[in-house]
């Protein structure tokens, strides 16, 4: 029973494809891909709608107010109203803008975000597109986002857009490196770039109750935190939202966009967030595996989306709690702390592997991380008392 519920979507797709027995094989192949794409879009656009209203609700709770509560029960139909509003708004293209680049930027950014979703395993046998180097695909697609943001900023022909795009690219390039290096230990330990293999490697329980997720090893926990922070920067969210800093540069690269193009940017940002949290869940939180063996009867995709929602809640929580960081703070944090720590994760994972992957390896890798962490804190002088900042302007 639980098995059939677990595989319900897989069997639904197989039933759909079985209607096409007479068709040539390439038609079946295309139909299979289309089914995956439709399912992905349906699920994640619904999730986007839900997330946008839930985010406002949770932010409301954090700030001691109600949040949207007028449209539909508990304000749940708010995204529908927002969508209609965005659709019927006038689409304004600036007179001096580079029309083609201005038009293509939101399309490219949304396409990149959606493509990245394609390689994540959402449940048992539920990876939309199994690619040999799935993790690599994820980051290769993600790296095109930078160019898209730049196109938006440059194509708008507006100083705020340009400033926002420059800020976005600067911080995205800085954090892309730690983002990829924190994935390395997982790839090293599993020995594969395929997300399915990575999830399979995290099956089972140590001592019968601790799940074998990588987040429960010292290197995994460190890499997870670093990955999470870098992912936060990559999706340009608070506290790293300087590219869009409303109080400084209007809306950054989205300043000159209105109506549905703005909505597309908004959607791409959220879908990028889903992708990065989905990858975090896949790499470190055991993907679709259940945390307790007694709860394995719950379908795998429920577990995956539970983990995804938990991570997204932390994103919203951080947004409601933390102020915006300065640009120089973000850069210093990336190059002086996050990057050395992510290299340490790689070394700690190697130590863990060669010390036998057991308790001994656990303690040794903890030692490596603790030493580097302490050395970094001493080197970076975190205990320094903060004197009034002296601003030196360029002459």
């Amino acid at each position: 029973m639980s098995k059939s519920v677990d595989q319900i979507f897989v069997s639904a797709k197989q039933w759909l494809l079985s209607q096409l027995t007479a068709a040539p094989s390439w038609v079946v192949q295309i139909a299979s891909s289309l089914a995956n794409i439709f399912a992905l879009l349906a699920v994640f656009l619904t999730l986007f709608a839900l997330m946008s209203v839930l985010e406002r609700k949770i932010l409301g709770r954090i700030q001691n107010r109600y949040g949207p509560n007028r449209v539909g029960p508990f304000g749940l139909l708010q995204p529908v109203a927002d969508g209609i509003k965005m659709l019927i708004k006038e689409d304004i293209v600036p007179e001096r803008a580079d029309k083609i680049v201005h038009f293509l930027a939101p399309i490219l950014i949304a396409a990149a975000a959606i493509l990245a979703l394609g390689v994540i395993p959402y449940g048992r046998n539920m990876t939309p597109f199994t690619i040999d180097g799935g993790i690599l695909f994820f980051f290769a697609v993600g790296s095109t986002t930078e160019l898209a943001i730049f196109m938006a900023g440059w194509g708008s022909n507006n100083k705020f857009s340009m400033l926002g795009a420059m800020r976005a690219i600067a911080q995205m390039i800085s954090y892309e490196l730690p983002l990829i290096i924190t994935v390395l230990p997982v790839v090293m330990v599993v020995g594969s770039l395929t997300p399915d293999r990575i999830v399979a490697a995290q099956a089972g329980y140590t001592f019968g109750f601790v799940p074998r997720w990588f987040v429960f090893t010292p290197w995994g926990a460190t890499a997870f935190i670093l990955f999470f922070v870098s992912g936060l920067v990559e999706s340009n969210r608070t506290p790293f939202d300087v590219p869009e800093g409303e109080s400084e540069i209007v809306a950054g690269h989205m300043t000159e966009y209105s109506g549905f193009k703005y909505a597309t940017f908004f959607m791409a940002e959220y879908i990028g967030m889903f992708a990065i949290t989905g990858l975090a869940a896949t790499l470190f939180l055991g993907g679709w595996h259940s945390p307790v063996s007694a709860l394995e009867f719950i379908p795998s995709y429920v577990w995956f989306f539970a983990k995804l929602s938990a991570l997204l809640f932390v994103y919203i929580w951080l947004r409601g709690t933390l102020p915006r960081t300065r640009v120089d703070q973000i850069m210093n944090f990336a190059w002086k702390f996050i990057l050395p720590m992510s290299f340490t994760c790689v070394i700690a994972a190697a130590v863990w592997h060669y010390a036998g992957r057991g308790l001994r390896g656990w303690l040794w890798s903890l030692l490596v991380i603790a030493i580097v962490y302490n050395a970094l804190s001493m080197l970076l002088d975190t205990q320094r008392k903060f004197a009034p900042r002296i601003y030196r302007f360029a002459e």
Partner: protein, 160 residues
């Protein structure tokens, strides 16, 4: 079906490459260059060399194109202006193409490629990198580490 796809992708790639060489605005040329790279990556995908295709996208769009964009922005004041008819680009492209064609046609071993029994997977590339090409790999690693340390030194605060 795949041969039709090859033709379509090849035409798109060539068109993008031509645009990159001839377009008036530098920024448009850079973006067309990115499109051409995606086309080449798609060709690699069709040939079953996923890893090469992904690395191509990764390096050329994530790094090289962004680097070019930064270079243009930081060095030129007339970014938005037309740069006039520039036939040096196409000429250089044709020259490189001719040289490459000549070199490929002159090479003996290309004509008699043995059919691969196994597909070139990421795993096999990794094994080759870690066994036969380990020293070049280490040299590249050293170079990149030096570049990273250089970047760190650049952002260090000056001692007053």
């Amino acid at each position: 079906m795949s041969s039709a796809a090859v033709v379509i992708i090849a035409i798109l790639t060539l068109a993008a490459a031509l645009a990159a060489a001839t377009l008036q605005k530098l920024m448009h040329a850079t973006l067309s260059f990115a499109v051409a790279v995606v086309g080449v990556a798609a060709l690699f995908f069709l040939l079953g060399a996923e890893f090469v295709g992904l690395v191509l996208v990764f390096v050329y769009i994530g790094a090289v194109a962004v680097l070019i964009v930064f270079t243009i922005l930081l060095t030129r004041r007339d970014v938005g202006k037309d740069r006039g008819a520039n036939w040096g680009g196409p000429f250089l492209a044709v020259a490189v193409f001719g040289a490459l064609t000549w070199a490929i046609l002159k090479t003996q071993s290309v004509a008699i490629v043995a059919p691969h029994d196994r597909a070139v997977t990421v795993k096999r590339i990794g094994e080759a990198l870690m066994t036969s090409y380990v020293w070049p790999l280490q040299c590249v690693g050293l170079l990149l580490t030096a570049a990273l340390i250089g970047a760190l030194v650049l952002v260090m605060e000056e001692k007053r």
